[in-house]
């Protein structure tokens, strides 16, 4: 047996069950990031719109999965031209179940389902900027159009074998450009069109459940190992370094954010720890395949402090980026992408060297091109799409619905039922004893 395997190994890549298993697990890990994100965002909004925040992430799992199957995967990853993929894989046809992703030892289907999870979470990321105030139908239409016009092409630019940024040599290991800058810039584009929440800057809009935010941040951190380590598409040493860098940079960013907060505002806040961790995850995403763990510490510390400062910009400039998608994802993504130009060692998954490792300015220049192209394209397209939707159907809910809460208005639900807490009063008012009020369901009243 052994000699035959050795002979064949020298030929084209063969299916590697280790890498395939690792990639299927990674895909599942990335999938859990979307519900994780839903909780991360959901805890940060007020009680009256907690469910809507969860739903804006969850619906992405529904819509994008279908789009991906119909045309997303083909447009993003089939060979076409520098700007858009081809049409061979429309409807996931023409893909043999044992056909391998070119140059790798995993099936195309495995790669497709792994990348699907990226396509799902990216539009979901945008929703954090739109808390409390948009129609669910408008949001659903928006992500349908945005994924089609922005995400699928940009994924092709950055990761397609004939994508123009990829061919230039721009490095985006796991989606700092295609996912985070892309989503952050899109968030900025939409909020510039739709405007602020009623009472922004005047009313207190405190998070309603920070433990939920921590739960979400924890799930994101956990899932991110699949996101980053899986992006090497093989289970080997480079994936392990990417995994390590993910952990290290995230830890450092959490500490960086907390130190900034302590110096600037006097407290180590829980929301700060969660936000710092997410900012670190974002920043290390493009860089985790190029830098060393020591580089990851530096990257994390800088990211934590800079993003902590950046989230305050919305008050200075007066745009309502409700849950800081711009401050965390766009800014974090930019720092991470540019960090490759400084910190790439040339000895991990990529040979490009950064400024600190004797690589000169070249890679930094390339990273700037990648950042600028994706940021500009996403920002402009996103604003145009938002404007179109606003003109056709109205992007925002009515003032009355916004004041009463979008959960009631859009989903006919509320996140928490506290009637049991007030049952004594409820019982007294309806003439029953408190125990009866606890046990019996609420009577339906015909109004």
């Amino acid at each position: 047996m052994a000699p035959a395997i050795i002979t064949l190994a020298a030929d084209a890549p063969r299916l590697d069950s280790g890498s395939t298993a690792f990639m299927l697990i990674s895909a599942a890990l990335v999938m859990v990031m979307t519900p994780g994100l839903a909780f991360f965002y959901g805890g940060m909004v007020r009680v009256k719109s907690a469910l809507n925040m969860l739903m804006m992430s969850f619906i992405s799992l529904g819509i994008i999965t279908i789009l991906w199957t119909l045309y997303g995967f083909s447009f993003a990853f089939d060979t076409g031209n520098g700007f858009l993929g081809g049409t061979n894989w429309l409807g996931m046809r023409n893909i043999g179940i044992s056909e391998l992703w070119p140059g790798y030892s995993i099936p195309i289907y495995v790669f497709a389902v792994f990348q699907l999870m990226f396509a799902i979470i990216t539009p979901a990321l945008i929703s954090g900027a739109l808390a409390d105030r948009v129609k669910f139908t408008a949001w659903s239409l928006y992500i349908t159009l945005w994924a089609t016009v922005v995400y699928f092409p940009v994924a092709h630019w950055v990761w397609g074998s004939d994508g123009w940024l990829y061919k230039k040599g721009v490095i985006d290991f796991a989606g700092g450009t295609a996912v985070h800058i892309n989503a952050g810039a899109a968030a900025l584009g939409v909020i510039l069109v739709i405007g602020k929440r009623k009472g922004f800057g005047r009313d207190a809009m405190r998070p309603h459940n920070i433990p939920l935010v921590m739960l979400g941040a924890g799930l994101l951190w956990f899932g991110w190992f699949g996101f980053n380590a899986g992006s090497w598409l093989a289970s080997d040493g480079v994936a392990a370094v990417a995994f390590t860098n993910t952990q290290v940079a995230t830890a450092a960013a959490m500490i960086g954010w907390l130190v900034y907060e302590r110096l600037r505002h006097g407290s180590f806040t829980t929301l700060g720890a969660a936000s710092g961790a997410v900012a670190g995850l974002v920043a290390v995403t493009p860089a985790c395949g190029s830098i060393s763990p020591l580089g990851a510490i530096l990257l994390g510390l800088v990211t934590g402090a800079v993003c902590a400062a950046a989230v305050g910009l919305k008050y200075r400039f007066g745009y309502d980026d409700s849950l800081d998608v711009v401050g965390v994802h766009m800014v974090g993504g930019i720092i991470g992408s540019l960090s490759i130009g400084f910190l790439a060692t040339g000895g991990v998954g990529q040979t490009a060297k950064g400024l600190f490792y004797g690589g000169g300015w070249h890679q930094l220049g390339l990273q700037f091109i990648g950042v600028g192209a994706v940021l500009g394209y996403s920002l402009v397209c996103s604003a145009i799409l938002a404007k179109l939707i606003d003109m056709v159907m109205g992007f925002r809910v009515s003032e009355e619905e916004e004041a009463a809460g979008v959960d009631q208005a859009l989903h006919a639900e509320s996140a928490y039922d506290f009637t049991a807490v007030g049952s004594r009063i409820a019982g007294a008012l309806t003439g029953g004893s408190s125990t009866e009020a606890d046990a019996s369901p609420t009577k339906k009243v015909d109004a």
Binding site: A204, R206, R264, H265, G266, S267, L271, A309, G312, Y315
Partner: protein, 112 residues
């Protein structure tokens, strides 16, 4: 009769209750309340955004007493509720026209 109303820090409730029992007060009403005086609440910070939370939790205690006991009772409450720190609360009294015990229909001081 007088109605003594005290708004105090929640953690002083037990001390106030014990002091009132020692004084011989038979009944009292306790309500959770919120408000602020000169201390103006506290500040919370979320991602750098500072929110002034000016309504802080308080306990409101109400006691009906005879006129002759009112001044002493106020002293008892003040002594029991005092921590010396800002936000200790306030005690005041109001004249009361009528009080009726629901069970018996007794009126005035007999109802206390």
């Amino acid at each position: 009769m007088k109605l003594i109303t005290a708004v105090v820090k929640p953690h002083r409730l037990d001390e106030v209750k014990e002091a009132l029992q020692a004084f011989g007060v038979h009944g009292l009403t306790v309500t959770e309340a919120s408000g602020y005086g000169r201390q103006r609440g506290h500040t919370e910070v979320y991602r750098g955004a500072e929110y002034t939370v000016d309504l802080v939790p308080k306990i409101r205690i109400e006691i009906l007493v005879e006129d002759s006991d009112a001044d002493d009772l106020i002293e008892v409450v003040v002594k029991a509720a005092r921590t010396g720190k800002i936000g200790d609360g306030k005690v005041w009294s109001l004249p009361v026209d009528t009080a009726v015990r629901v069970r018996t229909g007794e009126r005035g001081p007999d109802a206390l």
